[in-house]
Each structure stands twice: as structure tokens, then as C-alpha cells.
Amino acid sequence: MGRYVVRRLLQMIPVFVGATLLIFLMVNVMGDPVAGLCGERACDPATAARLRHDFGLDQPVWQQYLTYMGNVFTGDFGTAFNGQKVTELMGSAFPVTIRLTIVAIVFEIVIGIVLGVVTGLRRGRPVDTGVLLVTLVVISVPTFVTGLLLQLLLGVEWEWIRPSVSWSAPFDELIVPGLVLASVSLAYVTRLTRTSIAENTRADYVRTAVAKGLPRRRVITRHLLRNSLIPVVTFIGTDIGALMGGAIVTERIFNIHGVGYQLYQGILRQNTQTVVGFVTVLVLVFLVANLLVDLLYAVLDPRIRYA
């Protein structure tokens, strides 16, 4: 196990470097990082040259990247163009997005698994077909359409919720945005659980449990669920990183000032430091979540042994 962890950690390094380098190149080489500083007008050449020199942008790209990464690992993500530290921006943005992600994950676990178990146990019945159709529709409708429609219906027409989330973004205001963010994954969790349950209901150990005369409830919770939920748990784990990165659309619709909002503003204003910093953290979150899920796999399923 220890050796496996070390190997995975080593494997993470090239992926981390590659992903951050890719983003770094996209931002710094294809765009002009100084242009954002001068706002809407074009920079005066002398000022631009001076700024380039001050920020070290006249150095080769690999050197810029190394300097940047060196700073990141000492906790310095640089300064946004308005003078705010990027770490300060992160400090205000990440708690909001983490709350949003938690709401989304809770929805995935509660609704997704319940629906999956219900449909998996009643395969082929009307409930099953109905839920399957609904999941297909949910997967097909892009998140921004779902979000706008829910905002229109619940927020504007029926006035059940406030159409936009306040700056502090407490949990109760994040319920509908969380549902929107979770919607596609929710449908996926439902289908995954359903397949897994339906496969395992025919397994020998379930038949043995039934033959022993165990009550149905116990068969389902102790024997069937425990084995069927392994792929689901791993999916939800890896989804954490994807949800945090994918929150841009949801945060834009509901005006949530989280990671997606900061990133979007950073990109619009060509705020290089903000964009690269946030993306670096998101990539790290994604990689660590993946690693944890792989380790969890071994804990949940004793048949899997890592050499």
C-alpha cells in the first residue's frame, strides 16, 4: 500500500506540471498579460516595456513558469492587477464554492442513491422506466439551461427562492444552485447505482442471504448495498474536483461569488495571476481527490490489493 501511494504521488507530478504548464502557456503566450493592465485602451509601448520588465515577462517562458511555481510552493500566488493578493481572493472564493460543492454532493448521495436503489430493485417496472427517462432528459439538457429555467420558475415566477445568491452565500441560499450543479452527476449516480444494484441482486451472496432467511431489509442494507455502492462512492469522490471546476456556469447564473465567479472575472479582465492561481489549485484538488478515491477503493473493496 505504501509503495502504491508513493508511486501514485510520483505519477501525479508530471500530470500536475503538464496541466499547469498548459494553462500557463495558454494565458501567457497566447494572450498578452500586460494588455489587461491598461484596461480598454491599448498600452503605450514604453509603459508596456517597463511593465514587462518589472513583471519579468521579458524572460523566457520556462523561466517565468519556474519562478511562478517556485512562488506557488512558498504560498505566494502573486497579486491581482487591482493590488489584491490572489490568496485573499481565494480565501473569499473557495469557502463559497466548497459550500456549493457540499450541497451538490449531498444531493447526489441522497437523491441519486435512493433513486438508483429503488429503480435497481424494480428493474423493468414503470418506476424504473420513468426514472431512466428523467435521467436521460436531465443529462441532455445543458446545465445552463436547467439553471436558467429553475431560476425563472422558482425564483421569478413562483418566488420560492431568491433568484440571486447574496454575497455571503449561506447554505440555505445554495440549495437550488447546488441542485443545478449536481443535476447531471445526479442522473449519472442514479444510473450507476441502478446498474450496480441490478447486477448484484443476482449474485450468489445475496441468494445465500435470502436463503438464510434474513429479512429483506437486512439483505438490502447489509449485503446488497455495501457491495453495490463501491463504484458509486468512487464516482462521487472523483466528481468533487469536476464539480468545483464546473461551477463556473452555475455561479454565473445565480450570481454566486465563488471560484467560478473570480475565474470568470479574471479571464474577462485578462487578470493572469488570478486565472493561473485558481486553475492551479483546482488541478491540485482534482488530482488529490482522484488519489484519495483510489485509496478508498482498496479500503472499500478488500478484493483489490495494491502491490
Partner: protein, 342 residues
């Protein structure tokens, strides 16, 4: 069900792939920020791989091939028929939008801004006074074009690179796997925002190029896994023993038997790419306003949603139906190609 061990049957598990890699693969699949449906496609396509030889042309007493069998199934599947009809209709109006909407989508009349439906303009007007019906019909062209071209690019690049990596293995395979890991670690919408925001071109090509750039690793992974499975079979060993060249083995023996999961994933991906284009256009980095796209229209309509919800609902509905049609088509094709479900 206690089954006697059958020595000639391929193992139900994919060989050469450790549990850790599988888990990593499952995880990485979830990385595509957009893609619940892609995940779905990817995981469900995995079930195709080991099941291949059941319907493959290998059993002499069965003359029907996997493909003719699948086609026979598809023709009777109402889901397939409905989605195929919807797609056919979309393709027709994409090629020839003036057949059902003769107006000019760029013709707007501010005096009619946000007006509801009237005769000759069944969907009403949007915030700029443009006819929503005409724009919705004309929007099909960009969506279908982007979807088809991006899928073609992704499938070509992904299956060639993934197939070669799976077939030859070794260093190249290792490098390719690490490269795909890198691309999986970047959330799709985020990458699109970063990359496309610096491109000022006004055509559909940057969007297609971006989707191909971030989409090919998904396909290459599927193709690689499927080629590795197909490589193990006896008929491939037999061909090798007979002295067939690697290119002949790859093209004549492996490719036909490894292509099914790729087709399934590509079909479902087409739907998600259309959704992705709309999402990027909604965020303002995909296609830019003079082009007519559902994403642009939805984005433009969202500030007026209180007064003119119809301008939001019609393009959204068209988008949802289109994506749904492609995903259902992919679902139907997967069911038909998966012999386990027969």
C-alpha cells in the same frame, strides 16, 4: 450461477490494467466538467469491450455478423427510430434552413422587441426584436456543424493515437497515457474559457479546434482499451502466426472488432459537444454575436427572462431536444452492439 471454467473464453476483466489504473480511469472520466453523459458513455462502453467476441465473426455456425445483428435490432427499436428522425430533420434544416424559415435571422426590428407570438412569427421576438423562430431554425446549422466536425476530429485523432498506443504498447503508450492524464486534469469549461478568450476569430473553427484538443484523450482511452482487449484474441494470434504484417493485423483483424465502443462513445459525445458549444457561447467565449447560435440566443435572452421568457425557452428547447436525440441514438446503438443484453 456456477459456471465451469472455459479456457478459451477471454477473461471478463480487462487484462494488463491494474485495479489502480482502472480506478484512475474511472476517476479521470469524471473530469470532463460538462460531461455526465460522456462519463456515462465511457463507462457503459467499457462493458462492450469484453463482450465483443460473442457477436463477432468468429463463430462459423452463426452467419450474421455483429453489425447486421445490431442493425436488425436497431430497426425495431422505437428509441432509435425517433431519435434518427429528429436528427434527420435537424440535418435537413441545418443544410437548408430557408425551407421552413424564409426570413433573415439577422433582420431585427427594435420596435417589436420582446413581443410575444403573432401570425407569421410563432415564437415571438427577442430582446433585440429579432424573430425567435427564424433564429432558432438557423441556429441548428452552427450546432450541427460544430457537433459533427468536432466529433469527426476527436474520433479520428483519438482512435488513431489510442489505437496505436494500445497496439504497440511500450514507451509511446506510457507517454500517451500521461498526456491524456494531463488533459483530463483540466476542467473542460475552464479550459475553454481560458483558451478561447484569447482568440478573437469569429468563425466556428476555434471552438471545433478546442473541442478536438480537449476531447481526443477521452476517445483515445476508449480506443486504447478496446484495442488491448481485441489484441488478446486467438484470431489475432493466429494471424500473427501466419505471418501477417502489423498493419494488416491492426486494420483487418483488430480494428473491425475494436471499433464498436468508439462508435458508441462518439455518438453520445456528439450530443455533449453540441451542449458544450452552447455553454461556451453562453459564457461569451464560443461563437460571437453575428453568428446565429442557440447558446448566444439563450445568453442574450437571459437578462430579459422576466418579460420575454419565450426568447429563452425556444432556443433552450431546441438545444435540449437536439442533445437528447444524439444521446438517445448513442444509447440505442450501445444496446444494439452489446450482445450481453440480448
Amino acid at each position: 450461477m456456477p459456471e465451469p471454467p472455459q479456457p478459451e473464453q477471454p477473461q471478463p476483466d480487462r487484462p494488463h490494467i491494474s485495479a489502480g489504473d482502472r480506478a484512475a480511469e474511472d476517476g479521470a472520466v469524471a473530469a470532463t466538467g460538462m460531461g455526465g453523459a460522456m462519463d456515462l458513455a465511457a463507462t457503459e462502453a467499457e462493458s462492450l469491450e469484453p463482450a465483443q467476441p460473442g457477436g463477432a465473426p468468429g463463430a462459423p455456425e452463426r452467419t450474421r455478423s455483429l453489425w447486421s445483428d445490431a442493425w436488425r435490432d436497431l430497426r425495431r427499436n422505437p428509441v432509435f427510430l425517433v431519435s434518427a428522425l429528429v436528427i434527420l430533420f435537424l440535418v435537413v434544416i441545418a443544410i437548408w434552413p430557408s425551407a421552413i424559415a424564409s426570413g433573415n435571422p439577422l433582420h431585427c426590428d427594435l420596435a417589436k422587441a420582446q413581443d410575444g407570438a403573432e401570425s407569421g412569427h410563432p415564437f415571438g421576438y427577442n430582446g433585440q426584436g429579432c424573430d425567435v423562430y427564424t433564429r432558432t431554425v438557423h441556429g441548428a446549422r452552427t450546432s450541427v456543424t460544430v457537433g459533427v466536425l468536432a466529433t469527426a476530429g476527436v474520433t479520428l485523432l483519438g482512435s488513431v493515437l489510442g489505437g496505436l498506443a494500445g497496439f504497440f504498447g511500450g514507451t509511446w503508450d506510457g507517454i500517451l497515457s500521461r498526456i491524456t492524464d494531463v488533459f483530463f486534469a483540466i476542467p473542460v469549461v475552464l479550459g475553454g474559457l481560458v483558451l478561447l478568450s484569447v482568440i478573437t476569430s469569429n468563425s466556428i473553427w476555434p471552438v471545433i479546434g478546442f473541442i478536438v484538443l480537449l476531447g481526443w484523450p477521452q476517445l483515445s482511452r476508449i480506443a486504447r482499451g478496446s484495442v488491448i482487449t481485441a489484441k488478446q484474441y486467438d484470431y489475432v494470434q493466429a494471424a500473427r502466426a501466419l505471418g501477417a504484417s502489423p498493419s494488416r493485423i491492426l486494420l483487418r483483424h483488430i480494428a473491425p472488432n475494436a471499433v464498436a465502443p468508439v462508435i458508441v462513445v462518439a455518438t453520445i459525445a456528439l450530443g455533449t459537444y453540441i451542449a458544450l458549444e452552447a455553454t461556451l457561447s453562453y459564457l461569451g467565449v464560443g461563437l460571437k454575436p453575428p453568428s446565429v447560435s442557440w447558446g448566444i440566443d439563450i445568453s442574450a435572452a437571459s437578462p430579459y427572462v422576466r418579460n420575454a421568457p419565450h426568447a429563452l425557452l425556444w432556443p433552450s428547447g431546441a438545444l435540449a431536444v437536439t442533445v437528447l436525440a444524439f444521446i438517445m441514438l448513442g444509447d440505442a446503438v450501445r444496446d444494439a452492439l452489446d450482445p450481453k443484453l440480448r
